[in-house]
């Protein structure tokens, strides 16, 4: 039985941690619901008026919908491509009895650790040569490259945990390799696939640096860049930025809440066999 002191300490620590991570988010949600006058009021007010003015303004005046659609397209494509390629790569790495699979995994991890700044120059030159600057594929390509190591690692771990005999059974029961992967291995790796997909999606959704570098055309910019470049004529449009940030965050929050169970089991796979 835990003592009251321990319980109190636990809740205090949990409360503090929650407050620190949620406070900025709460602050811009509150700000987004204020009116123009109270945004810059000093001292700041805690309770917003509940006005949706900034949302209307962000969509109508700042082209927020375009950024949302760009982000959805880029993040969606990145996720689909990365997961497809990572699935095949991870399946091979997990199953083929080849020497050097450990080395390949190690190299992938090393590649994943390159600082982005060091890649920016070459990536920009390549895309320029391809004529892909300011195109969706121009952004999706480096995103896929950068997220593949993560996807391959997560999925390899998952595939390795599935008993080989399951595939043996599938092959004997009439599957070819593709069917065995599609009908038996993938359904059983769903938590891993979801985890990898969501992490990749979040990365592509939030990525700022490459998006800024590659998309100079306002019509192709994704949410983080789009929002960062909100410009008022005389002042920073704080209210609109807060509203747009809320809009940018909600899909992620919804997605994570929706798949919470699967992500948790995905992230903890390998810790306990199950």
């Amino acid at each position: 039985m835990r003592s009251r002191g321990q319980k109190a300490a636990f809740w205090l620590a949990a409360g503090l941690a929650g407050f620190f991570s949620l406070a900025p988010f709460l602050w811009f949600v509150i700000t987004s619901l204020k009116s123009q006058g109270s945004v810059t009021a000093i001292p700041p007010t805690l309770l917003p008026e509940g006005s949706l003015h900034f949302y209307w303004s962000a969509f109508a005046g700042y082209g927020l919908l375009g950024f949302v659609l760009n982000s959805l397209l880029v993040a969606g494509l990145t996720t689909a491509l990365t997961i497809s390629i990572a699935t095949l790569a991870a399946y091979a790495l997990a199953r083929l009895r080849l020497r050097g699979t450990g080395l390949v995994l190690g190299l992938l991890l090393a590649v994943g650790m390159f600082p982005q700044t060091s890649l920016a120059g070459p990536v920009w030159r390549i895309l320029q040569a391809l004529g892909w600057l300011n195109t969706y594929q121009g952004l999706v390509l480096p995103y896929v490259t950068l997220t593949l190591p993560l996807g391959v690692w997560i999925l390899t771990t998952f595939f390795k945990e599935l008993p080989r005999e399951l595939e043996g059974a599938a092959l004997i029961d009439g599957c070819n390799r593709w069917q065995a992967l599609w009908r038996v291995i993938l359904p059983l790796s769903a938590p891993g696939v979801f985890t990898a997909a969501i992490l990749v999606f979040i990365y592509a959704w939030n990525e700022f640096f490459f998006a800024l570098l590659i998309m100079s055309d306002r019509a192709r910019q994704t949410l983080p860049v789009g929002i960062a470049l909100f410009q008022g004529q005389y002042t920073m449009p704080w209210g609109e930025i807060a509203a747009a940030s809320t809009v940018a965050t909600l899909p992620l929050v919804a997605m994570v809440l929706l798949f919470q169970k699967r992500i948790v089991s995905g992230l903890s796979a390998g810790a306990i066999k199950g």
């Binding site: 043996g168 059974a169 092959l171 004997i172 029961d173």
Partner: protein, 355 residues
């Protein structure tokens, strides 16, 4: 229904030779057990037959047709794995239907076959359940059911009973026998359990060091082992092995065994091996307390229900003998043993049995 024929199969994992030029024939409708210690390559052999692994050399024939280069799905075999390998995301019915579905069977065909298999194995009430909601024995049945729904030419069993408790294992053994009789199918069954091998198989192939050491009916393998390995591997408690020289003394041949200060009279036929070094094998059930030429110091008595197993020592030798359940003697006492010379087995220095 088909004969399985393996010709000169060799397989290595890296530098380790798992199977060496192995040949074996399982007759049409036969129930052949591949028996061997762990790591002898018996599961590898089964995977080669199924097409899950490829041999380095050699050919595989099923029903007279060569399947050496064919994918598993084109070999018309079914396999039951040690871990059952049921598809966890499918219900029992879906598991049973899967091989039929993959082969494009019609819905009515699938339904009737699944129903038949479920009936045969007593799975009717479990069709909607997922594998995780089943007991070990039930999972085992589903795995067997999945193998038999599509009536393959050849059944492969990879230690299918080893994860079950003793009681269930015994029941399943009887069921396997019934099933074999009913389906009259060719079955290959891998196990390291000699009791399972003796009770199930119409034939046993003893596998060790990548080779078939001996193949034949269970009785013959037990009573006429081809070599020392088979003699030692079959039978529990293990056979008594007495190394020595055949000497001719007085009227007949005797086994002279200096390490145990023993001179044991041998049947007259052994005279032809006079002067040779041999190993004499005596099954424990052929030694029992009574007046005889062999005696040992009693170490302990193992009570195994209907009988007792005596562990004795004589010089450097350990001996095992069988006695009635009520046999009693204090440890350390010398017990004289009656032997049945007609049951003696002789092996030469290379371990081959002398006839």
């Amino acid at each position: 229904m088909a004969e399985l024929r393996l010709e000169n199969i060799s397989k290595s994992h890296g530098r380790e030779k798992v199977l060496e030029s192995l040949s074996l024939t399982v007759p049409d409708g036969g129930f052949t057990i591949i028996l061997g210690p762990s790591g002898c390559g018996k599961s590898t052999l089964l995977r080669l037959v199924a097409g899950l692994d490829r041999q380095d050399r050699g050919r595989v024939f099923i029903g007279g047709a060569e399947v050496t280069g064919l994918a598993p799905k084109d070999r018309d075999v079914a396999m039951v794995f040690q871990s059952y390998a049921l598809y966890p995301h499918m219900s029992v019915a879906q598991n049973l239907a899967f091989p039929l579905k993959m082969r494009g069977a019609s819905k009515t065909q699938i339904a009737s076959q699944v129903e038949r298999a479920a009936g045969l194995l007593g799975l009717e009430g479990l069709l909607a359940r997922k594998p995780r909601e089943l007991s070990g024995g039930q999972r085992q049945r589903v795995a067997i059911g999945r193998a038999l729904v599509r009536e393959p030419a050849l059944f492969l069993f990879d230690e299918p009973l080893s994860n079950l408790d003793a009681q269930l294992r015994q029941n399943m053994r009887v069921e396997m026998l019934r099933l074999h009789k009913r389906l009259a199918a060719t079955m290959v069954y891998v196990t390291h359990d000699q009791v399972e091998a003796m009770t199930l198989g119409s034939d046993i192939a003893v596998l060790a060091q990548g080779r078939v050491q001996q193949a034949g009916p269970p009785g013959e393998i037990y009573s006429r082992p081809a070599n020392l390995f088979v003699a030692g591997f079959m039978g529990s408690p293990a056979i008594n092995l007495l190394p020595g020289r055949v000497e001719l003394e007085g009227g007949g041949p005797v086994l002279s065994c200096p390490s145990a200060e023993l001179k044991l009279p041998l049947p007259a036929a052994a005279a032809s091996w006079g002067g040779r070094s041999i190993t004499l094998g005596i099954r424990p059930e052929r030694l029992s307390p009574g007046a005889g030429p062999l005696a040992g110091r009693l170490e302990l008595i193992e009570r195994v229900g209907p009988e007792s197993v005596l562990h004795l020592s004589r010089g450097a030798l350990d001996l095992r003998a069988k006695a009635p359940a009520d046999f009693a003697a204090p440890a350390g006492q010398s017990v004289s043993l009656r032997a049945e010379p007609e049951s003696f087995l002789f092996f030469d220095q290379q371990g081959r049995r002398l006839v």
